[in-house]
Amino acid sequence: MPDLTIGILGAGKLGSTLARLGTQAGFKLLIASRRPVDQLQWVIDTLAPGAVTTTADALVAQADVIILAIPLSHYRDLDPQAFAGKIVLDATNYWVEVDGTVNEISDLTHSSSEVIQDWLAQSKVAKAFNHMGYHDLEIEVDRKPTLPRAMAFATDHDDIRPVVTQILSGFGFAPLDLGPLRFGLLLEPGSPLFGEAIPTTEFREKLAKIYDSTFGQKIIAARGNKL
């Protein structure tokens, strides 16, 4: 997939960090935000040289893979028709500062990425890039630790697993497949895995004990027999 075009929607801390990692890795990369294209371009020329700034509409039309780096609560602004057939990497998290004090989008029965998948029904959504803070994303790639840090992902579409894996490892992480999208909940704020920037073995150890944690217990209580 040498001609894969990645589009990043959102150019804040997360979006601009991912843009830099992506261009550094040699991906063809587009980025768009609510800012006018020329204004954003001169920011991006400095923060992620090589990334091409465009409008959100053009980005969605042109990119094969779209990374969501917008506030989660803005997902309804995305046009499901325009997204049809696209691979979507959902890097968003529910964040009180931008999404509001009360989370009315997702709960312990549904990962927020499932909500996005429901909205973008004709796209193939994977949850990825969400469990590491934007500082760590950059630091843990640039410092080239002996073992790359695990980047977990979840999706309901087996046919996109190779692409997701290729992108995550291309960006500098060790991809770790959690399975179906509903398990993406294990990567969300409140989970012991949220914020983790550790190698795969350690990540798996933590994952194995997840249902012993308070967060895991809450999931059991909410989801009952169907975890």
Partner: protein, 350 residues
């Protein structure tokens, strides 16, 4: 702008400290300790001490200006700053009143560093909605600029009080102002905002290789040009422990810096710090932990790489024993700062 003028400061959030026998100090004792340390820093000739406001159990300082008031009366040369004042969850009018008071008591040695705040406790505490985080700051910084301009002001905002032909007292003496800087974490918007408001920037570089902030420095220079604004000195802030013995410094760092980062991480969704990451932060990253020579080399290298004219060392992170805190301050003043100036090119302060 005089490129050869450098400023070196100390920062603390008033972390609850420990006596040399390991007994934890109370908040009150820790506050008095900060005052004593500020006095020591003044005697040692450090340029600035800046205090951060926090509203949680690990830290004693919630009202930095009061502590600075005590220092204003008992020091002579040192600049007295905040790092930071969380303007978003404060009332700019009252902030102005406190700082114009401090301006009088400190004979103009005060400095306010405005920030959006990386901790969120102050928002519910003062009855502000965290979801307006960004808008609150935008609006209040505009009001702050208006207050600084002096005279009677008219003001109408969304989150702030309406003011009609209002003067706020004590007025600043004619021609004087409150030195204001802007603290920046990792947001491109904040950098552009600093350029727009013509405020010197201090970047918190508390993790990773400092050189990764080079693009932000470039962005600042670019923004200044684009908007035709003056180029102002840039500064950085980072944690450090400076002891004569390297291993001892690392030991103290692992015990206290790691512990504090992990404790805060629990609330903020950070993972506990791994040993290899800690070692990386000391070797190549953002912890200034080691002997005076090691720390001086590192500060000089990073100030050079990032065009910095100001360096603020956060001391006493996680508390630490009194003698460890004092040793860091003394080493910083007597060995590190002169050495950094030498390494940066000797020309030093005009």
């Amino acid at each position: 702008m005089n490129k050869t003028t450098y400023q070196f400061g100390l920062n603390t959030f008033g972390d609850l400290a420990f006596k040399d026998d390991g007994t934890p100090m109370t908040g009150a004792e820790s506050l008095r300790q900060v005052v004593a340390e500020g006095q020591l820093a003044d005697r040692l000739g450090i340029d600035l001490i800046a205090l951060g406001e926090h509203h949680r159990s690990e830290f004693a300082i919630s009202s930095p200006e009061i502590v600075l008031g005590a220092l204003a009366a008992t020091t002579r040369h040192i600049k007295l700053g905040t790092a930071v004042t969380v303007l978003s969850s404060d009332d700019p009018v009252r902030v102005f009143e406190r700082f114009s008071t401090l301006h009088a008591l400190a004979n103009g040695r005060e400095e306010i560093m405005l920030g959006r705040g990386s901790f969120t406790e102050s928002f519910p505490l003062y009855g502000y909605d965290l979801e307006n985080y960004n808008e609150l700051f935008e609006e209040k910084i505009e009001l702050w600029e208006k207050l600084l301009a002096g005279g009677a002001i008219d003001w109408e905002g969304k989150f702030t009080q309406k003011l009609t032909d209002t003067t706020v007292y004590p007025k600043l003496p004619a021609g004087e102002t409150i030195a204001t800087t802007l603290a920046v974490g990792g947001s491109p918007e904040s950098i552009i905002r600093a350029a727009y408001y013509e405020l010197p920037v201090v970047i918190a570089i508390i993790g990773g290789e400092p050189v990764r902030f080079r693009p932000y420095v470039d962005l600042y220079h670019k923004a200044v040009k684009q908007m035709n604004k003056p180029e102002l000195p840039l500064g950085m802030h980072a944690h450090g422990i400076i002891l004569d013995d390297e291993d001892e410094a690392k030991k103290v760092g692992w015990q206290y810096i790691k512990a504090e980062m992990d404790r805060i991480g629990i609330d903020r969704g950070w993972a506990p710090m791994t040993r290899d990451r800690f070692e990386f932060e000391i070797d190549k990253g953002s912890y200034y932990v080691g002997t005076p020579e090691q720390v001086a080399q590192k500060i000089a290298k990073n100030m050079n790489a990032l065009d910095m004219q100001r360096f603020d060392l956060v001391y006493g992170t996680g508390g630490q024993l009194l003698h460890q805190r004092t040793a860091t301050i003394r080493n910083y003043a007597q060995k590190v700062i002169p050495r950094v100036k030498e390494l940066l090119g000797g020309a030093a302060n005009a």
